[in-house]
Amino acid sequence: MAASANTLTNRLKQQPWGLWWLQARRLTRIEVRRNLFSWRATWIYFLAFVPTIILLIHAVFDRDGKLAMSEDTMVLAGIVQFYYIRLGIFFGCLGIFSRLIRGEMVERSLHYYLLSPVRREILLLAKFAAGSFSAILLFGSAMIADFALVYMPYGTVGHDFVFNGPGLSQLEAYLAIAVLACLGYGAVFLLLSMIFRNPMPAAMLVLGWEAINPVLPSILQRISVASYLRHLMPVSVPGDGIFALLTVETEPAPAWAAVLGLLLLIAVVLAYSCYRIRRLEIRYTTD
């Protein structure tokens, strides 16, 4: 047992980690530049920052003094729960991550990467890291800006809420939600884009699944990114209309369990993606 462990350790030590790290960094840099600084990326900026613009209008022009901070806290929670998780991050990650592999196939440029002396797993993980970095940077900074714009107009009361009250912990929770949502949806869409020639029908099924997830039995709710994120919400906003009647309330899971569950889901999906990319074949005539 000890001998086999030693063999494994030796084998791991013999791997060219330095080279892999260098290749991954270079690939990540190329992809980040493509994701953040191209005309094609402008719509992701729109998705991330459109609530910020509305909150800016509210902060500058709509200060009538009769608004309650508790109401604004609920509005912010609603923006995160209903806009960012279900729409903004979902469609943003769909655009970013489905382009990483499938987009290169459509543009007929993936074979350049596959012909270069880079392990395919390194290629996949570097692309995933680049997509995650771009998505987290955009949506994370948008959430920080939203948070600041909600509480800044309240002056000292807002300052007290943020620095001496529950404000900072709420911001931390929102950022954790943004990071996990980007990683979770990213991993799922990266895998879908490798499995299907057109990943959109499957992505729309995922959207439908996430939308109807609260009305499903608790066991099925676990196969969803949004259900894990719901447990991390510092302020919960109840559903409205017929969905509120049908919603199945699950046992509130501790934050560590929700985070661990989602990270496990991401790890499994990424491991399967690494397995898939080993067997990836490009047929440009059919793709």
């Binding site: 998705l47 459109v50 609530p51 509305i54 909150l55 209008i57 509210h58 709509d62 608004l67 509005v75 609603g78 923006i79 209903f82 806009y83 279900r86 729409l87 903004g88 469609f91 769909l94 655009g95 489905s98 382009r99 499938r102 987009g103 459509v106 020639r197 057109n198 990943p199 959109m200 029908p201 992505a203 729309m204 959207l207 409205d240 209309g241």
Partner: protein, 293 residues
């Protein structure tokens, strides 16, 4: 080989009428749309609520069922304007995935393959080209929206006691008007966004996002600025209110806030959306070829 003789003349024979040329585009568009198994699957899926509603009409008009249910005084068997609103909503929302799948098939291939110069060199104008594609999409969407809803109405007319038809005729007009507005808008949105997204696989997602993201943005606008006008960006809310009014169903305020919008504002917003889509199509549907060096 050089061509020395330049004595060509314009064709002076009988030409096909304009509508027939558009009809060719419609025919090929329909064939292209329904050649996909996913289109057929989505079309069949859209028939599931229709069958459920059809069974409900049968049960509602079956004396034995009515006798069993009447003891419990259940309202779910009532076939009234509210019932047709539910059917209309179900069918119309099933049309959204169908449109987002079919619209890119109709237009993106032509643009991605630089086929527009060849197509527009035939005796068909840019307007005729867009009209042909629009009609193909409109007909596909009508087959899962207005047709099933009208079949339900006709079946109820057949089953119901005499006098029901004349008393509820405005419902039929409401169904036709409501679905026509919806599928016209969907067709315009689908064609416009398909023409701007060259990558067909992405176009389906972009069309979905074009319908759902403004709804979220409108919701944020209304919640943050405490105004109902943000709902003018929320297509589901706007259409539900419009359908309710067309079918004569009373509006229920659920959340304590009145999000009700004036019908004129809703119609103005829908017309504006169609005009924006027309402008997008006008900018993209041109006989030009993109050559990359």
């Amino acid at each position: 080989m050089s061509v020395y003789r330049h004595d060509y003349r314009a064709y002076s024979g009988r030409v096909t009428p304009m509508w027939a040329r558009v009809g060719v585009l419609v025919r090929y568009g329909l064939a292209e749309a329904w050649s996909s198994k996913i289109t057929i699957g989505l079309g069949l899926a859209a028939m599931i609520p229709f069958i459920i509603f059809l069974i409900q009409i049968y049960l509602a008009n079956n004396p034995a069922t009515r006798l069993l249910v009447s003891r419990n005084n259940l309202r779910f068997l009532d076939v009234d304007a509210e019932y047709f609103l539910r059917a209309l909503e179900a069918q119309c929302w099933f049309a959204l995935p169908l449109m987002s799948w079919v619209a890119p098939r109709l237009i993106t291939y032509d643009l991605a393959d630089n086929a527009l110069p060849i197509l527009l060199s035939h005796p068909v104008s840019r307007f005729g080209y867009v009209l042909g594609k629009f009609l193909a999409l409109f007909a596909s969407l009508a087959s899962v929206t207005v047709l099933p809803c009208l079949v339900l109405f006709v079946y109820q007319c057949d089953c119901a006691p005499p006098g029901w038809t004349m008393a509820n005729l405005p419902i039929a007009f409401g169904i036709v008007a409501g679905t026509t507005v919806w599928i016209t808008l969907l067709s315009m949105v689908g064609l416009a966004f398909s023409s701007w997204v060259k990558w067909r696989t992405l176009a389906t997602g972009v069309i979905f996002a074009a319908v759902l993201v403004p709804a979220g943005v409108g919701g944020i606008f209304s919640a943050v600025l405490r105004t109902r006008w943000g709902m003018l960006l929320n297509l589901p809310v706007m259409m539900t209110q419009l359908w309710q009014r067309l079918l004569g169903v009373p509006e229920v305020v659920r959340t304590g806030r009145d999000w009700s919008l004036p019908s004129a504002a809703i119609l103005a917003m829908l017309i504006a959306a169609c005009l924006v889509c027309a402008a997008m199509l006008h900018a993209r549907i041109r006989a030009r070829e993109v050559v990359r060096g």
